[in-house]
Amino acid sequence: MTLKRIRMSLWLLVALAVAGMAILLFRQPGEFAPSGQSVAIGGPLSLTDSKGLPFSSAKIAGKPYAIFFGFTHCPDVCPTTLARLARLRRQIGRGDDSFAIVFVTVDPERDGPREVGRYTELFNTPVIGLTGTPAQIDKVKKLFGVFSAKVEQPGAEYSVDHTAATFLFGPDGKFVATIAPDENDAAALAKLRRITG
């Protein structure tokens, strides 16, 4: 009886450990980041802009920015996220310079500079659209801990599963927080105010 009980307790501990590891593994990047401290998220960008010209982080140096990874054939979460960032930037009311909105495609196969450029013009506010070679995109995905994977759909064009968080960086270029799509506007706005000051 006691032996059985000990064995059960041990199994319970194992289950707890597994659950804990699962949480660590599947949490969003940045969720554990203490405010104001730099963690290893982000890094120098070396991509191509919507005009086909090289884009480096120097272009947005000294400016806070919100960066989102998606693809132009994404019908739901990508335009919803960009529309919300545009809306909240208007709400902050300090102009388009209060923070930059950066969109990086995780689908360079379909999204060249022209596609990314046309897409970012949809939101009636400046959005920096970026693409790159598959190798460049892979590199930037690693820097930000972004996951993406093609999903074939029967009888339709492929879709892409992807990390849907928006990453926020302060004017010093340091990572501050992420915004998840399921967070409400008030929470998102409070986080944006942390980078706009």
């Binding site: 593994l25 599947f26 949490r27 969003q28 990047p29 132009t72 054939h73 994404c74 019908p75 739901d76 979460v77 335009p79 919803t80 960009l82 529309a83 545009a86 809306r87 022209r114 596609e115 046309r118 897409y119 013009e121 949809l122 939101f123 009636n124 506010t125 996951f147 999903v151 759909q153 009888g155 339709a156 064009e157 879709s159 599963d161 992807h162 990390t163 849907a164 968080a165 998840a180 799509p181 399921d182």
Partner: protein
């Protein structure tokens, strides 16, 4: 004449199981798209004022070659989008919203981009309530 049939249908329904769904659809909207971006999401509200559940089985939109009922779901920070196999259940008395970042009608192979201000029809087929018509209004991409 038509009223007669409607009344007869209602009476028949009432004599049957006594439980019927009563479906209405409203607030159809979609974001504008640009050339090259040949997919879009349409959103709408489905209200079931009846006493039985129903199921949205199919959507057809002449404006797009394909319309599929899709669910977006967050899984460990990753957004996944999948076909809703078996349709979307509309419980008795429930209001089901197809809204951004959740369930939507995925329009693909758009013949031309959706322009802000444009309107187009959609037909929704329910398992019990049959066909329902809805107008989808195209809004500026940044409208909401």
């Amino acid at each position: 004449m038509r009223l007669f049939f409607v009344t007869a249908a209602l009476l028949l329904a009432a004599c049957g199981s006594g439980k019927t769904p009563e479906i209405s659809v409203e607030n159809g909207w979609a974001r504008a798209t640009v050339a090259g971006q040949n997919t879009a999401a349409a959103y709408l509200t489905i209200i079931n004022r009846g006493s039985a559940e129903d199921q949205l089985i199919e959507v057809s939109v002449p404006r797009a070659k394909q319309a599929r009922i899709h669910a977006s779901s967050m899984d460990g920070g990753v957004m996944r989008m999948r076909d809703l196999a078996g349709g979307l259940v509309i419980p008795a008395g429930a209001t089901v919203e197809l809204a951004p970042n959740r369930t939507h009608v995925m329009l693909s192979e758009l013949a031309a981009p959706l322009r802000s201000g444009e309107e187009f029809p959609a037909t929704l087929r329910f398992a019990k309530a049959g066909m329902k018509q809805l107008t989808i209004k195209v809004e500026q991409a940044s409208a909401r």
